[in-house]
Symmetry: C2
Subunit: 458 residues, 2 copies
């Protein structure tokens, strides 16, 4: 469970120095001396992060990075490029190829470790959502996520409006995203309008020393902006202040003197990672929805309905109110399937579900609990109400035929109804459903297309 | 979407001062002048946090807090008690009743805002998992979570071992959890052993100024400990250092001079919140599992299987390998249900699923894709291998009868097999499954209990 960090450097001494530093910080270092070994180990050892030297004997660091990013197995691993030179072009090339950062030797230990835990923490927040993408892929939402990033929204929050306007001017042309200049207050409120910015670029000393860092913490505590990428910009960047900004959760920290092209490339990488995380979170929510929804009718499924019924019963008991349980079954549904085919049977179920939904209150519980069986729970309801509702449900089924492929057919339902009476002693939920089930059987036995009320509830 | 904060104070001026401060910080303040209003608003307005004065005209702040904690709707809302007095007993009573913090007037604005965003951020991390508990409740895992907290594990990490030992001695007797004294390295490595501590109590200046804060950031970046609760302890607590610790993600910050009873109560509240969050995360993972697993047999469902098949096909194409697809159908299963009942039918499906699982490789894909229909995909497989596997699957079904309630019965399966040949042109996955389906129909037509191979694949 210890973070695995792949160190790629052709100089043995460098590898050993990194290995000692990272080992002391309780990481698990893995070593590679050339580009091909890096690519192989990135696949086999599944490192959590890669420290990649720019100059390697077989491939350039950029080539290795490009291949890592093109491979679905390795495309999401954070990569920090390490270089001995201050070469600006190499820096831009590395950022363009998708490096998460570019550090120039000699590298301060405090800064290196802060950057590593910062990148690992961001990665943990995403990977914990699913076991390495397996389920998300399964849910059919993880497709085509790696490369495409549509236009995003970048918000610039600077102490002086002129600075913000200059940043925007710099970025226009190199960034194909919408760029806003916002005040501190607008940054906090903007999220409330529904479309929160994807990335915030914030002046570190907004409204006084450390004000930008506090704004970052504020944004992180709010629902609309907590997953935004945040960059902290300082006139002068020191090791301590940068390390602190990383630990406070900044996704990137750079000097206000950084060339616009570099700033744009850094924002682009952050946008890509942010979009990926958004997709994964959406997949998780979809997955949860799938666990409680019947895909055919869109109604809740049995798994959802039974605990909800228990909760309704509990609340009814506390409030001293009655409630009603109906079990509804389609009459002669097997004949529909046999005669018209399964597609027609499905169409009938969908139409029945719609008619039920239209004729119940928002607060009623409606679920499909079996092939052609539905459960309805009416909170705060007595026999008179519930019987009227059940009769109405019966009536709306037969009042007009259901259109299916190849014709139209008449459908009726039988309904068993049981009332939980607050004046009597507490009855287990399963017993109430049993009573409704037995009443349903009586309705079937007595000719179908009718409501039967459980005797003991009368 | 703006954070709603309920301010409860009987003095109008105090309410207005808080309202102005929180409004300026872009929160939405809601005001209550007494305990009953607080309880009502906590229900109706669903605030994200409550600032609760200790002295109210109708109820004491402790009574209000106790009732908030006893109500399932409000039990998780963070509550910060506010008091004008330094009364130690009131402080302990509030913490014992479940207050998340206890602040004494006058309250420094910097500290107040840091604490609010800190608590709101922690809350956001939990509530985003599900829409306010609805789905989690539905998944049947959110039951009985509010009150019970079994023994947890608290790790003490102090600069000097004596300090750690003293803390442990102080806590023994007041805390019914296991308490460990760990070094910095052990704290980082301990998580790797599977049972990471629930709470870390860390000396702020461990190994030098700010060392404890850096350890906290390290723990947050590691899979095993990222969700642990973390308390920062300082000999002298200043407003700035406390605010910074909150923004760095500390769940609590207190002085090393705090009485052991208070420390124990604070740890207990953190443990309870941490356990709640653990339960919610487990529910989410369960929910995701439910979305891809057939609950009867434990096999993957159709929703999972089809994208996985597409992924296998893609990898096979890249590697220039063949793969095989089988559609397996139980013979005369309807007769089993009709004659033996649905429970027996289910038992048969479970046993068939087990025999299939036992006779396939870990790397093969096996899913239940219909009532009595299974899909098997064999990656890196040719006709000879796949035919042998399919024949074996047929054989293991009939070799011994399946025990069900009321007797035992013989079951056979028919299998349609299609091979994707790397030498041919790429064939859409749906076409391969269609071929297997047609081969299955031939197997059925030719007497069942046999394997039929799709002609065009031979």
């Amino acid at each position: 469970m210890v973070g695995k960090i792949l160190i790629v450097d052709d100089v043995a001494t460098n590898r050993i120095v990194f290995k000692v530093k990272l080992g002391a910080a309780c990481y698990q270092p893995i070593l590679a001396a050339d580009g091909e070994s890096c690519l192989r180990l990135a696949h086999e050892a599944a490192p959590d992060l890669i420290l990649l030297d720019l100059m390697l004997p077989d491939l350039t660091g950029i080539e290795v990075l490009t291949r890592l990013r093109a491979d679905p197995v390795t495309c999401d691993i954070p990569v920090v490029m390490i270089s001995a030179s201050q070469d600006e072009d190499a820096r831009l090339a590395a950022l363009a190829a998708g490096a998460d950062d570019f550090l120039t030797k000699p590298i301060d230990d405090l800064l290196l470790l802060a950057r590593l835990r910062n990148l690992l923490r961001a990665r943990e927040a995403v990977t914990e959502l699913g076991p390495r993408g397996t389920h998300l892929h399964a849910l059919g939402l993880a497709e085509g996520r790696a490369d495409f990033v549509g236009p995003g929204c970048v918000a610039l929050v600077a102490e002086r409006t002129e600075t913000g306007m200059r940043w925007r001017k710099d970025l226009t042309g190199v960034l194909h995203d919408s760029v806003l200049v916002l005040s501190r207050e607008a940054a906090l409120v903007e999220g409330g309008n529904g479309a929160a910015p994807d990335v915030f670029v914030i002046d570190a000393d907004l409204g006084g020393p450390g004000g930008g860092l506090r704004l970052m913490s504020e944004l992180r505590s709010r629902a609309a902006t907590k997953h935004a990428a945040i960059c902290i910009v300082r006139p002068v960047v020191s090791v301590e202040s940068t390390a602190m900004a990383y630990d406070l959760g900044a996704n990137d920290v750079f000097s206000s003197a950084v060339p616009p092209r570099e700033m744009a490339l850094r924002l682009r990488t952050l946008l890509r990672r942010k979009r990926l995380a958004d997709t994964m979170r959406a997949s998780v929510q979809d997955g949860l929805r799938l666990a409680v929804i019947d895909p055919l009718t869109g109604l809740y499924n049995r798994r959802y309905a039974l605990p909800q019924l228990a909760a309704i019963a509990e609340r009814a008991q506390e409030a001293g109110q009655g409630f009603a349980v109906m079990v509804i079954d389609l009459d002669r549904f097997k004949a529909v399937n046999d005669h018209w085919g399964h597609a027609a049977g499905d169409a009938v179920l969908v139409e029945v579900a719609e008619r039920l939904t239209e004729n119940l209150r928002k607060t009623d519980l409606l679920a499909r609990i079996g092939g052609e069986e539905f459960l309805v729970v009416l909170p705060d309801s007595d026999l008179t109400d519930a019987r009227a509702t059940a009769e109405r449900l019966c009536a709306v089924m037969q009042e007009r035929p259901i259109q299916v492929q190849g014709g139209s057919l008449s459908v009726t339902v039988s309904i068993g109804l049981a009332i939980s009476n607050p004046a009597r002693q507490v009855e287990p939920v399963a017993d109430i459903v049993d009573r409704a089930d037995r009443a349903l059987m009586l309705a079937k036995a007595n000719g179908r297309n009718k409501v039967t009320i459980s005797r003991s509830a009368a």
